[in-house]
């Protein structure tokens, strides 16, 4: 049995890469890198399956193992974050020896089965796949081995159910619904709470940083529009200061337009530190607001 030229080329390109990725699983420092390596091995395996005229197996390998099982592994790895600092001491006594014993037992059983097994003569791919690969597989799995399939299915369902039952926690109190929460918010209105979220910080022509309060409908600054942390630290800027600075700038621009020039100091006394504040605040705040995500290209609401 020799492979065709294309298949051999595919194998000799993929196989070394897969071996490298498998080694990466062993030697990678970060758990997520190891997971990515496993992912690569799995996809490579799927491609080899397809190349060997088993397209169903190859595609299912990707859908089930890479797409679902490995994804769940990654999910847990990302959330838990396996560190090198994990304790390696045994919590159950003799665990290691039991493990070794069970492993040896498995090896013995497998060797026995493999030594005993006799295969019928191969019928060839063309005949096996005559009714298309998925149909032929279905006939074998759901015809010849239907009992084994059913048993495995029952086992898997039991395991899934056991997982659900073991992780289930009984709720001790009634879960508050959205309606109950809304009623509670309304009931807290007379105590000075608000129905809506707190107002966002102020947006001014030259300043939209978090430390400036917004103006209410009556023109008064709303102190609670500045985050509580900034207020406690005393890092809040007053709206009047921001507006006065902008006012000065506008006045300067007006004067420049009519030809007086910005240097005529008596008309517009420029406060010390004004230039630094505005030039420091506005470019930073504009990039923070629009520049980083690029989501504005999207135009509307999302």
């Amino acid at each position: 049995m020799t492979a065709s030229g294309a298949e051999a080329a595919l194998f000799w390109v993929l196989a070394p890469l897969m071996v490298l990725a498998a080694l990466g699983l062993l030697f990678a420092r970060k758990a997520v890198h190891a997971a990515v390596c496993v992912m690569f091995v799995m996809v490579g395996l799927a491609i080899l399956y397809v190349a060997q005229e088993a397209p169903f197996l190859g595609v299912v390998q990707v859908v089930v193992y890479t797409g679902a099982v490995m994804m769940l592994f990654l999910f847990v790895l990302m959330l838990v974050g396996v560190d090198a600092a994990d304790s390696l001491t045994e919590t159950i006594k003799g665990q290691r020896w039991v493990g070794v014993l069970l492993g040896l037992g498995l090896v013995v059983v497998l060797l026995g089965v493999i030594a005993q097994a006799t295969f019928p003569p191969a019928v060839g791919l063309a005949e096996a796949n005559a009714v298309t690969n998925p149909v032929a597989l279905a006939r074998v799995l759901l015809g010849d081995y239907v009992l084994a399939m059913e048993v495995v299915g029952v086992l898997l369902v039991t395991a899934a159910l056991a997982g659900l039952v073991l992780t289930h926690r009984r709720r001790l109190s009634v879960r508050p619904t959205q309606r109950v929460l809304a009623a509670a918010r309304v009931a807290a209105l007379p105590q000075g709470r608000t129905l809506t979220p707190l107002p966002a910080p102020g947006v001014y022509a030259q300043n939209n940083a978090m430390d400036t309060p917004a103006l209410g409908p009556d023109g008064e600054p709303l102190p609670h529009s500045v985050p509580r942390v900034l207020r406690i630290r005393g890092q809040e800027r007053s709206a009047t200061a921001v507006l006065a600075e902008e006012e000065t700038l506008v006045a300067r621009d007006d004067l420049r337009l009519i030809g007086v020039g910005p240097t005529s100091g008596e008309a517009v006394p420029a406060p010390v530190g004004l230039v630094e504040t505005t030039s420091g605040a506005s470019p930073g705040s504009t990039t923070g607001g629009t520049g980083t995500t690029g989501e504005d290209e999207d135009g509307g609401v999302r």
Partner: protein
């Protein structure tokens, strides 16, 4: 000729496949540019504003300009990012998105103009082509997940975790809804499925599966109202918060190609693929189902589904995350599963020799029985509500007329008949101002007021 596949690829040499692949990539990239413009323009119409109208005719070149801008922007690498995975993630997203169209049939056999050469308007097909589409979709999620993790930042991680949970759950519903098409068509190859829709398109007999597919395809592509992995109000921009410039553009590209992918799958599996719509398909002995015409029908249907995407986005609000997950697990998956079971039973009965009239009579009798049962079922909730309405809530005493409590029972309430509103403080202020300075010119506005007026 591959067994179990309707199209004949035996004439395709390597270079033909190569040209087709290049054409598909070009088609996808231009379609994405068009799709961005299309979406912005249609959403703008729905929101009664013009939308992009400055660059090129009808603003068509707007997305090209945006793409140029993204290309030229600074590529920011976050310090805490995991460099390799950070770069790998957008690549995985785009490559997996580009793979799907390989098995989508644009049309039947077409003749290349000015030659005698005929070839299927499809790159390739095999007996498990639709599963291959699902495999590509499930690989594409790795881009999102790894991108979120490798950014080394909180919001992207939350976005990617959400995305994992979301895509795994909605892929189940999607797969189950596709199973009913496999049962009816008896095949998983795309060209065979299109061939099986000669008499009727599957979205009519398989309407429940189609509805489940449309919902789960929106969930699968992270589009509104299911765009929780990138919910701006909660997660800034979700998994792509820390991405900029070309890397961000790749995520953006992958999102729109994925929209095109699921639309193409919906078209192929449920909407008849490249087949002409009914009155046209009968014209001149099926003339519109041959030659290059089918490409037109395919594209029209594709963009119809794309319009549904935009329509849904312009109409619906984003779901809350727990509502979204419970909707997927408690509604979509059971419905899809039940539908597959019902369909399999019907198929089995059909194979066992039950005639169609017998089936329809059986279904009608069952429907009548179910409706009668529902009609006669004691309505506990309704009875309780009626009782409550009859007696009235115990904590609502009658208020004396004239005394108005704006927060009766803690709720802001309007005055009842006979009660009078207290005078509004703002109204009084206006009245007092008017009475104090009659006919006087308005006071010069203060600096603060004027600055507001000028902006």
């Amino acid at each position: 000729m591959i067994p179990g596949v309707a199209s004949d690829f035996s004439n395709d040499w390597l270079w033909v496949s190569l040209i087709k692949a290049v054409l598909i990539v070009v088609f996808l990239l231009t379609s994405v540019l068009f799709a961005i413009w299309f979406e912005r323009k249609v959403v703008a119409r729905m929101q009664v504003r013009p939308g992009p109208n400055w660059h090129g005719p009808f603003g068509l070149l707007q997305s090209l300009a945006d793409a140029m801008k993204l290309l030229l922007k600074e590529d920011v690498n976050v310090t805490r990012a995991d460099r390799i995975v950070y770069l790998l993630a957008p690549m995985i997203s785009v490559f997996c998105a580009l793979l799907v169209f390989a098995v989508i049939p644009f049309g039947p056999e077409v003749t290349i103009p000015f030659t005698e050469y005929t070839t299927p308007a499809q790159l390739t097909d095999f007996p498990v082509a639709v599963l291959y589409v699902l495999a590509c979709a499930s690989m594409g999620v790795y881009g999102i997940v790894l991108g979120g993790w490798s950014s080394g930042s909180t919001y992207p991680l939350l976005g990617s975790v959400r995305s994992t949970a979301q895509v795994i759950s909605y892929e189940l519903a999607m797969g189950l809804s596709l199973v009913s098409v496999f049962i009816m068509a008896g095949s998983m190859s795309t060209s065979q499925i299109v061939a099986s829709q000669t008499s009727i398109w599957w979205f009519l007999p398989l309407l429940p599966a189609f509805v489940v597919y449309v919902i789960s395809m929106i969930g699968e592509t992270n589009r509104l109202p299911f765009d929780l992995p990138e919910a701006e109000g909660e997660l800034v921009s979700g998994y792509m918060t820390e991405y900029s410039s070309m890397k961000f553009a790749w995520f953006f590209l992958a999102e729109y190609i994925n929209m095109l992918n699921v639309s193409a799958v919906a078209t192929t599996l449920f909407l008849g693929g490249w087949r002409a719509p009914w009155p046209l398909s009968a014209v001149n002995d099926g003339m519109f189902n041959t030659g290059w015409w089918p490409v037109l029908w395919f594209l029209a249907k594709l963009w119809l589904v794309m319009f549904v995407f935009v329509w849904v986005r312009g109409t619906l609000l984003r779901l809350r995350y727990d509502q979204f997950m419970s909707f997927g697990w408690k509604v979509l998956i059971p419905v899809a599963l039940a539908w597959v079971v019902v369909l399999s039973v019907f198929q089995y009965l059909g194979l066992a020799g039950v005639t169609r009239t017998q089936l329809i009579t059986g279904v009608a009798v069952a429907a009548v029985v179910v409706i009668a049962l529902l009609w006669l079922w004691p309505d506990r909730k309704g009875a309780a509500a009626k009782e409550a309405a009859g007696s009235g809530p115990p904590g609502a005493p009658h208020r004396p007329a004239g005394e108005f409590d704006a927060f009766a029972d803690g709720f802001p309430v309007p005055p009842l008949p006979g009660q009078a509103l207290p005078p509004s403080p703002r109204a009084r202020r206006h009245v007092m101002q008017a009475s104090e300075v009659p006919g006087a010119p308005a006071a010069p506005p203060s600096a603060v007021d004027r600055s507001e007026e000028t902006r």
